[in-house]
């Protein structure tokens, strides 16, 4: 997870990227450590100039996260990848196709 964080932040700088989408649709469970890491990741990305959108949260994960008080305050959320791309386009001021 830490390596993933580092690699991602590196690439955000290298590719001058403006947005990050994290798709968690394939996750069955998300523990508090995972949620916290995602929050940290979003904060780091924001500091490097990129917005983060989390997509594909299932109803079960959504409610478990809320119930356990795992909030991800810096993260935008969208229903699925398509919605996430649209949202990023709005957030960064450029359409998905530019």
């Amino acid at each position: 997870m830490l390596r993933f964080q580092e690699a991602l932040v590196e690439r955000i700088g290298a590719e001058r990227c403006r947005g990050v989408i994290i798709d968690v649709a394939a996750l069955d469970v998300l523990d508090s450590y995972g949620a916290k890491t995602l929050g940290v990741l979003a904060e780091m990305a924001r500091l490097r100039g990129a917005e983060t959108v989390m997509v594909g949260v299932s109803p079960e994960i959504a409610f478990t996260m809320v119930r356990l008080g795992m909030s991800v305050p810096n993260m935008h959320t969208a229903l699925d990848l398509e919605e996430g791309l649209l949202m990023l386009g709005r957030l960064t001021g450029s359409g998905p196709g530019r």
Partner: protein
Amino acid sequence: MTEQRTQGRDTSGAASSDGTTGGTTAGGGGGGWLDDQQLLPELVAHLRQHRTQLRQEWAGRISGSHLLTAMTPQEVHSETTSVYDNYVEVLETGSVEALRQYARDLSERIIPRGVETDEVIGIVLLLRDVLARSLFQKYHDDFTVLNHVLDAYEPAANRIANTVAVSFVDERERVIRQQQDAIRELSTPVLQVRERLLILPIIGVLDAERAQQLTEQLLAGIRQHRAKVVVIDTTGVPDVDVSVANHLVQTVDASRLMGASVIITGLSSKIAQTLVTIGVDLSKMNTIGDLQGGIEEAERLLGFTVTRKAEGSAAS
């Protein structure tokens, strides 16, 4: 099978009692042993023969006891006839399958009419008594034979009463379960009113179980309809306790995680007070006074504009 066993036991009982009654009834005793094989057929034949009279007596006692008042005399007549025939058939064959099926059918028909459990059990017991009386009358000269007849009759009659009562209660429970499911389904509808806009009207008391179910249905509905905005209307909820209020806030957060923003409308002053006192962060809660305002806000968020047609074009 059970019937067979019952008969077998009766036979052995008959043999021993015949042995003790001794010489004078020896011929009758021998006949009695044979009688046991013939007893049920004879009994059935007797009941068939006096069908009309016994059925009328039964029907008379039903109306005398003020049972089945929800049904018309004609209905009582036709149902008692069928029950009587089924009853005799069970005595003859020893199989309650057909009766069980009939009892279930009958229950299905009469439960919506408001027939109670005690009435159903009451009429079956009345029939049992009427038939037993007629057997007493027929065999009252010979106590031994009467004993054998009752030995054969009573277990079967009790089984019939049991079967009918159980079938009736089963059917009732099935209806109740069905209704409970229906109520649960209907109590928290998730409705789509525009593309990607859901409305969730809540009416009545919101307890913990219902709140849980509401959350599940809402989150599933968001996914299914790809909703972006959800309006939760609580106009019909007078008050909630602290845990349910908390649950409501969590539901809003969970919906946000799924990419839908929630607008809550029609919060009563009591609920508003509860929400404030539990001290959760309400800054992200989007609340609007009434449902109309909530829908207008949702339309604004989704980029819909609703305009009224000009008078002239509406008429044409």
